[in-house]
Amino acid sequence: MKQSPVVARWLLSRFTSCTPAALQGDLEEEFRSGRSSAWYWRQIVGAIVAGSITEARVHPFLVLRALASGWIVLLLFFACGDVMAQTLARYAWNWNRSDGYGYGVWWPFHIAGFVVSYVGFALSALMIARTHAAHAMPMVLAYMVSVLSVLAASAALIEWINGPIGVPHTLYYFVSIGLPFMWRSGFVLVPLVIFFTGLFSCGKEMEMTCAGTNR
């Protein structure tokens, strides 16, 4: 019997474990009656987007809670970012701040800051996924969209000002990854880090919460 793509099925179950079993059955029925794998993947992506929008619409307070908690964890983590980045740079490359100001050697700090930034995004996504059980991935997706929007707006603002701009150290770890000296890596890596952290940390609770439901 023709088998539907396992990864696609797994992805759908992670994203929308409360999806009607009927939808999963319909997809299976259509696939076994001759639809292609490309069709199946398109349907899965569409179902994830439609399901996430529906979840967000049905649970607006959960979205607000997820966004608030994600941003609080992110900014609290970045508030300690200087200490972490300097410690990492010191242990890894024997770098200290006087090397930066004295000799203009900043690359160890930039690399350490890069690591701190992405650890912060991963940690905030992990926290949202672990605290929003049945609705984890739609909430993580909403958080990802909010982070990308703020990142794009702040990078555009900095480019528009086009001159030296004082940024609190806490925000450095947020905005730096959207700027040219970090190759604007944030626009690719932030969604990936948040998405995959959420994906691999939401599992069991979702299955338990939604087991047997047929919404």
């Binding site: 009607p20 079993a21 939808l23 349907q43 994830i48 439609a50 929008i53 529906t54 047929n214």
Partner: protein, 111 residues
């Protein structure tokens, strides 16, 4: 009209498809009906999202069928238009007809 009562274009299309199909209205035939009408691929996820909204507005009701092997052991969910749903369809038709009558002839609308 309250915002939650507003019937979007896709919702109306799904409601009409459920009405047209009748007793055997579940995800697959609904999506196929819409594809035949629009000539475009329709996402089953979007169909279910619209059905969930219609159910929330009490315009359709659903019942669960028996699980079958060709569906990976999952049951079909059959949908039926409620009396409120039929009224919504009639209201929409009336509104569209009224608006349509008020339109001047569209350029290029005749072969």
């Amino acid at each position: 009209m309250r915002r939650r009562d507003y019937l979007g274009q896709f919702e109306l299309m799904v409601l009409l498809a459920v009405t047209a199909i009748g007793e055997d209205a579940y995800g697959v035939p609904i999506a196929r009906e819409l594809e035949a009408a629009t000539g475009r691929e329709v996402g089953l996820g979007s169909v279910y999202a619209a059905l969930a909204r219609l159910q929330e507005k009490s315009l359709v009701s659903s019942r669960t069928g028996d699980p079958t092997p060709e569906r990976g052991g999952r049951a079909k969910q059959y949908f039926e238009v409620t009396p409120d749903g039929r009224k919504a369809v009639r209201d929409a038709r009336r509104a569209f007809t009224r608006l349509w009558r008020g339109l001047p002839e569209l350029k290029g609308s005749r072969p």
